[in-house]
Each structure stands twice: as C-alpha cells, then as structure tokens.
C-alpha cells in the first residue's frame, strides 16, 4: 500500500507595523503585560476599529511578490467565538473577500528540482492575546498586548507532499517576508506561526483524505517533525483499519508527538459576516503602483542573478540569498573585493563561523561588510596571502581597526620580491642538506618540509606560489 501525504500550510505572518491594525497602540514585542492594550484592543464598550494603512501596504507588497491578484475591493468580517485572549468575542478577519488572491511560491528542497507551490490567498486579520498558564494556581493569566497586532494569513494550496517540502516552503516564506521587510521573521518571538493541514490518501487517488490540523508550530524543524509524526500516525491508523478523524492537534516537541486539542473549536460555528464597524476596503492602481515601485529584488531573482551573473554555485547562491541580511552583506563585501567567489567563501566560511561562535546574527556583525571586503581586496591584489588574511580577520574581529592599518602595523605584506624569497630558500637549503638529499633521492613529501621552513622564516608572508615555484627550481639542482 503506497500512501501519499497531502499537506497545506496556513502561515500567520505578524506584520512589522509600528501600531496595531485597528488601533494606535504600539505593537512592539516584549512590553509589560497589558501595557500596550488600549481601549480598542481591550474591546471596551463603545470602541471602534480604524484600519492601519501600512498593514494594507504590506499585504499588497506580499501579494505582488507572489505574483498574486491584489484585490482592489476587500471586506473585513467578524469571526465569532469565545476565548479569553479574544476580548471582543470575535476576531476581525477576512472571509470571502480577502485582499490578496491566488499566487505562488517557488520552493527549493535539498533533493529534487525547485517546486512551485500554489498559494490560495492571503488575508489580513488581527492577532489575539497570550495566555500564561502556569503562573497562578488554577488560573490562567491573560496578556492582551498582542491583541490587534496585524497578521497576514497566507494559505497554501494542498500542494506539499512531504514534511521536508513543507518545512522548505515555510522557510521560503520566512525568507520572502524578511526581504519585503514586512515581518522581522523572529520565530522565537512568534512573528511567524504555522498551522499544518495533513491528510493521507492512496497513491493515485484524487480525492483528499480526512485532514487534521496541527496548530501553532513556530520553528522550521518542528514543522518537519510534527508533520512526519502526523503522517505516520495517520498511516498507522488507516492501515490498522481505523479512520482518521477531522481534528485540531498540538505538537509536543518534548515528546515528538501530536495530541488532539479539546474539541471545543470543532463545534464552533464562526458565523462570519461583514464587520459593520468597518467599511469595504478599496485600493486604487496608484496605491498598488506605489507599492510595486518599492519592491526590493526578490530572493528568487537574486538567486538566479548570483548564479548567472556572478557565477556562484546553486548551493552558494541558495545559502547567501536565504537571509536578506546575508545577501546584503555579501553584496557589500563583493562591491569592495570585486571577487564574488572569494566573497561568498569568506561570508559562508570565516564570517559565519565567527558569528556562530559569538551567537550573533549577521545583522549584528561587529564587522561592517566593508572590512572583509577590503581584506579580500588585499588578497586579490596580492598584498597578503589567504592564510595571513585569516589572522587579520581574527584581529579585526577581536580588536577592530582597519585592514590596511593592521597590515602596515604588523608588517604583514606578502613578500613577493623574488630576490628576497630566493635568499630565504638558499638559506634553508644550505641549512638542511639531509632533507635536500632525501628530496633529490625521490622523497617528494619532503618538499612540504621546505615550504614550511621558508614560510616560517618569512613569518608566513612569503607568497606561497612564488615559494613553490622557486623552491622547485632550487631543489632540482
């Protein structure tokens, strides 16, 4: 029995506006409980919502980026249910007439060609508050700061077929929203959350199986693990003669399993209807055009450009373009160094390692891109060797300073003067007659010893290529 898993993701993207979607309270993260919940957010008697222009702009930006129809006319609806983190007893969302229609996203997985995943729609809605469950005996504490933060809910077609694909899609979406600067992408803070709809069917069948929904996953890894678990669970169920029930589940990362949530939500009839406190949203071509004019180079286009114009490998291009900060940093380094491959290597290698050790994001790099750029330029123009450059990099990282100043202060210029190198070689050869004899007798490995000695004598500054050439010559005789 071959099973096929069918997966769709609903991703909630918290839009990086300054204020809430329907009120003028701040939407910044991490404030004291309820210190950013104004009367509108609290749903006090008599308050009314007014729509944030930037949230609309960000939604349109997203729509354009996925090649979607941006709907000139859209409506906000009330989604009615009771929960303590939902002060009004309804969430303002968009039901039948969302702001963004059909689009698509190209997803790169580790194995296999890029896959186009359809996006059904994306709509604006308000976020709910947060619950604190374990702080008070028998009670739950409610913090409504997050209430009213704008969300863009992006709904994919059920085009994903594996957990890995789903994780890659989530990652790609994460990259895109960061490029567009519509979301800070901070998963730990809940800036993006994902619900996964998973179902199973026999390979070849066209009808969808009964699906279960895993809610609120907020890491790439957990998306993959949760979906894999759920696929397994459903397959086992069906193979043992059972049926899959339509339900809502939570992923428990500690136990690596999904658990059914209390079935309250299922019996809910949300009674969607247009919110009478808001009017239909109409955006004109001028609005859309202005947003289009502000679009950055998108990740897919950038990746292609790196491969075709800068001759980077697919892997390198993929690595660098995944994070807009990395791409930006790389491009700034390249602008100074002039060598894309070298720049890529150093960003992906030395810099990345140093950042990891210091637990910093590239945006927090203590080195501005211009510095590694300058360093690589000095490798390019032969001023220093690659090896010496690594040392300079360490110095820059630990102590700061300027590349050229360090080279000068520590006398690190590569020695390229043939005569100088020749003298060193002559000295070493004269001082090591035994090894000379061994080499001339056929022990090629001894060559390395001579190279090492010359480099040591030159304090690492001799140009390795020249050392190699001159040494070979010298040892022939």
């Amino acid at each position: 029995m071959t099973w096929e898993s069918v997966i769709g993701l609903e991703v909630h993207v918290q839009l990086a506006t300054r204020s809430k979607i329907f009120s003028g309270a701040s939407s910044a993260f991490g404030a004291e409980p309820n210190s950013q919940a104004c009367p509108v957010d609290l749903g006090l008697p008599g308050v009314l919502p007014v729509l944030n222009e930037e949230a609309v702009r960000m939604a349109v930006k997203f729509g354009l980026a996925i090649g979607a129809e941006v709907n000139a006319y859209s409506v906000f609806d009330r989604k009615n249910y009771f929960y303590p983190d939902l002060p009004k007893g309804y969430q303002i969302s968009q039901f039948e007439q969302p702001i963004v229609g059909r689009g698509e996203l190209i997803v790169h997985t580790e194995d296999g060609p890029p896959k186009t995943i359809g996006i059904t729609r994306a709509h604006l809605e308000e976020d709910a508050g947060k619950s604190v469950h374990d702080a008070y005996a028998g009670l739950t504490g409610i913090d409504l700061n997050r209430t009213g933060t704008p969300l863009l809910e992006v709904v994919s077609d059920p085009d994903l077929r594996t957990a890995a694909e789903a994780a890659a899609y989530f990652r790609q979406l994460h990259t895109l929203v960061r490029y567009l600067k519509i979301c800070d992408g901070n998963l730990a803070q809940g800036s993006m959350r994902c619900d996964a709809n998973v179902s199973i069917r026999r390979m070849g069948e066209s009808e969808l199986g009964v699906r279960s929904e895993i809610k609120n996953i907020n890491s790439f890894r957990f998306v993959e693990m949760a979906i894999n678990y759920e696929i397994e669970r459903q397959i086992e169920l069906l193979e043992s003669g059972g049926t899959v029930e339509r339900d809502t589940r939570l992923y428990d990362a500690e136990r690596n399993e999904t658990r059914s949530m209390r079935s309250k939500e299922l019996s809910n009839d949300y009674r969607y209807f247009p919110d009478p406190d808001l009017l239909p949203v109409e955006i004109d071509d001028a609005f859309i055009d202005a947003v289009a004019a502000s679009m950055p180079e998108l990740p897919e286009a950038k990746l292609n450009r790196y491969v075709t114009e800068l001759d980077l490998s697919d892997y390198d291009a993929g690595w660098l373009t995944q994070d807009p900060d990395a791409a930006g940093y790389f491009e700034a380094v390249h602008a100074v160094s002039g060598n894309p491959k070298l720049s890529a290597n150093w960003v992906m290698g030395e810099l990345s390692a140093a950042l990891n050790r210091a637990e910093l994001d590239i945006a927090q790099s203590p080195l501005s891109a211009e510095k590694p750029g300058r360093l690589l330029q000095r490798i390019e123009d032969g001023t220093v060797s690659g090896k010496i450059a690594k040392g300079i990099f360490e110095t820059l990282w630990q102590q700061g300073g300027e590349v050229d100043a360090i080279i000068a202060a520590e006398g690190l210029e590569q020695v390229t003067d043939t005569g100088a190198i020749q003298s060193l070689i002559d000295e070493i050869i004269a001082a090591n007659p035994d090894q000379v004899a061994q080499f001339q007798a056929g022990k090629d490995k001894v060559f390395g010893f001579f190279v090492g000695q010359v480099m040591k004598a030159s304090k690492g500054k001799a140009n390795p290529q020249q050392v190699n050439e001159l040494l070979r010559d010298a040892l022939k005789h």
Binding site: P39, L42, G43, L44, P45, G46, V47, L48, P49, V50, L51, R78, N80, F82, P84, P87, K88, G89, Y90, I142, L144, D269, R271, Y272, F273, P276, D277, L278, L279
Partner: protein, 486 residues
Amino acid sequence: MHADSSLIELANGLKNRTFSSLELTNAYLSAIDESQDELNAFITVTADIARAQAKAADERLAAGDAPALCGVPLAYKDIFCTEGVATTCGSRMLENFIAPYTATAIARLNDAGAVMLGKTNLDEFAMGSSNENSYFGSVANPWDPSRVPGGSSGGSACAVAAGLAPAALGTDTGGSIRQPAAFCGVSGLKPTYGRVSRYGMVAFASSLDQGGVFARGAADIAMVLGHMAGFDPRDSTSADQTDDWLTACRSQPPSAASQGRIGIPKQYFVDLGVTDASMQNACRTLEAAGFTLVDVSVPHVDAAIACYYIIAGAEASTNLSRYDGVRFGHRCEDPQSLDDLYRRSRSEGFGAEVKRRILTGTYALSVGYYDAYYLKAQKIRRLIQQDFLDAFADVDLIIAPTTPDVAFKRGDLVDDPVAMYQQDIYTIPASLAGLPAMSIPCGQHQGLPLGMQLIGPHFAERTLLETAAAFQQLTDFHQLRPEPTA
C-alpha cells in the same frame, strides 16, 4: 424655575448673565431630585461634576467670547461613555463600569462648556421601545406616569418633557429617539448615519445606531447638533462631511422654511386611526406654511420590520460578545471553569430581552441561515433605501406618523414582543436607509402627545430643521407641558 424655557432662551440668559450656570444647574438638580421617585428618568445624577462644570462655565462666560452652549445643562443617555462616571447601559452587566474615556460626541459638548446633569435611564443596551427593560427600573411618562415614555431613550425624553433638562442626548437604532419623543411630546432628531461619531457610544447595531438630540424645538436641537456633529477619525463609519450651515447652528437658530415639496407615502397614510386627526391637521398646517404635499410611494416598507430585526439582531448579538466577565463588568461569584465564567456572568448580567435578541441574532447568522436571513435582509435594505431615494427625486422630505398610537400603559406589551416591535413600524425604514429623521409634536389624543415624523435625504438635516421650525412657528404643540405631578 426654568422648566418652561427653551435651550436657546437659556443660552441667551447665560450669555447675558441674567442668571448663572450654577444657579441654573442647581435648579435642574433640585427638580431631578424631586422627580426621581416618580419618573426615574436618571440612573446617575452627577451633581458634583455638574456644579464644577457650571462654575468653570461661569468663569468662561464672564471672560466673554464663550461658545453659545457654554453653561447649558444637558443630560446624556447612559449608553454614552463618560470618563470617570458610571456608564451602565441600563444593565446589571455594567452596573459598576466606570468608563475610562469619554464619547466623542460628549467630549465636543464638554469643550463647548455644556454641563452634565447626569446619565439618563434607557432600555438595557438600547434594546426596547418602552424603557421597561432597564435593570435600574422603568421610567414613567410625565404626561401619565402609568404609561411608558417610550424607548429605548425613555429617560432622556422624559427628562426634557418634565423640565429636568433643556435638552438631552439619546440614541436611535430603529426609532429609539423618535418614538419616545412622540410619546413624551418633545422634539427628537436622529441624524444621518455617520453624522455623529459613534466612538464611545456603546454599540447595539453598528450600521443603524446614531446619536441624536431631544429638546423642545428645532432651534434647540440644531444648536446641540451643531456642536456634536462632525467627522471623527476614531469612527470608520463617521462621514467626512463638513456642513457650514450646521456649524453655524451653534450660535444661530435655523430659519423657518417657507416652501418645499413634502412627500406623503401612501403606504403610511392608511388606517391611521388615532393619529389620523393630528396628521391631517399637520398636513394642512404645512400647506398653509407654503409647502406642497405630494403623493409618493415607498413600496418595500412592509418588509422593513423583518429586515430590521434580522440585521439589528445579528449585529447586536456579536457586539455584546465582549461582555464576558473577564476584563470589566459583571463577573459571577466563584467561577468553576472558563465556560462557567462566561455563561453565568452573561446570564446574570443580561436581562431577558437582551438575551432573546442575542439568541435570535445568533440564529440569523448561524450556518445555513446567513443567506436566507442576513444577506436577504441587506438586499431588502437596499430596496427600501432606493424607495426613499427615488421619492427624494421628487420631494424634499417625507412625513409620516411617528407612532401608531399614544404611549401605551406600562406592562401592556411586555409579554408581546411582536406588538412591541410594531411600535417601530414608521421609524425603522429611515434607520435602515441611514436617513435623517425627526419627530415633532403635532397633536394630542385624549390628553396624550402625538408626534409627526419628518424624513429627509442623507445629510439634509437643514431641510428637516427648517421645516420643523416653520411648523413650530405655526403651532404650539411643542410648547405644551405635562401637568406637574403631585
């Protein structure tokens, strides 16, 4: 002392320093105090605040150049949020709710120097037509205390009629200003939808609610409306409409119109019964004043009541979901679980009428019924609006009775919701269409007041007020007072 004076007269008296705002305010406070046992028009009397505001107003008046409304005492339906003062909406649910902010409409009146006498009684959450649905007791009609004042703005209508305030604010969703105005023999205006900000006006039915004014006559209403009305960025449904004429009404009464075409909807002028004589007289008066009466037709009004109850019920059912005992308002004792908290708090906090409306509203929106009920009602709503707009192509305004009869006896309709709904038969269509509409006294039947309704095109308050002014120049129904009750 000043119970017989119109708001305009009082404003002038204050400006001319004939009396002070403090004197005036104290006079009203006394009258209110004496009336409470019998009439129960007020839920909260804000005596200290009123006196403080009056003193500040007197200083401003002495300095000169104060707005015309400065120092004038007003009463506000207890559905408007007033900072630092209880805002109960006539409900146990909000019995102890002290609003942390002030409704825009009232804030504007405060800026103009008005004095707040108190918060008037109302049907709970504005749901009702008799003011018998208040947690704080029913309100009596000052013309006959065994009768209702109308609702839901019963307290405000009563207050003006009984001389407890020269003007009062109300809200009108399906007739809640106009019907009590008619029952109490005062003038009452529901402005165009979007004319007055709804921010801070606790929502009943969002696409129908409008804040408005009760007073003796058109000029009084115009002055208050002139200060209250206007675009509010906090209300998405607020109309971005500046009306110089209305702004001028802050200090200048509307002139009486002397001509115009008035539509007589044939659907309304059948079987008038009790209202027949007064409507006929009113028609003749208007003709004498220079107006031309023209037959018009608004064929879809028959479906108006059904349409209204679906829409209002649906919107209200969700507007009231925020009352859950979590952040403010009534909470049950010792909740055992979240569900228990919600159900008991809400069931204890809401009265029977409110609960019924929530349930019927929930039904109208529930799965399977949305198209047949809510969507259908919104389509009929457009047809009704179109009827009026078509009529307005030919006439400047439309008149109709405000109510089918005089104020009914307390307790008569409590068990008959359908008969209660029928009270709003003339008033509902203007609400659905968002049109400005006003009730002015036009006669009496067995000593009890009757009202005539004027309905205008969107933003044509000027037409209504100038026509009312003309009518009130030629009649004195609006000057009649109930006998002071022993």
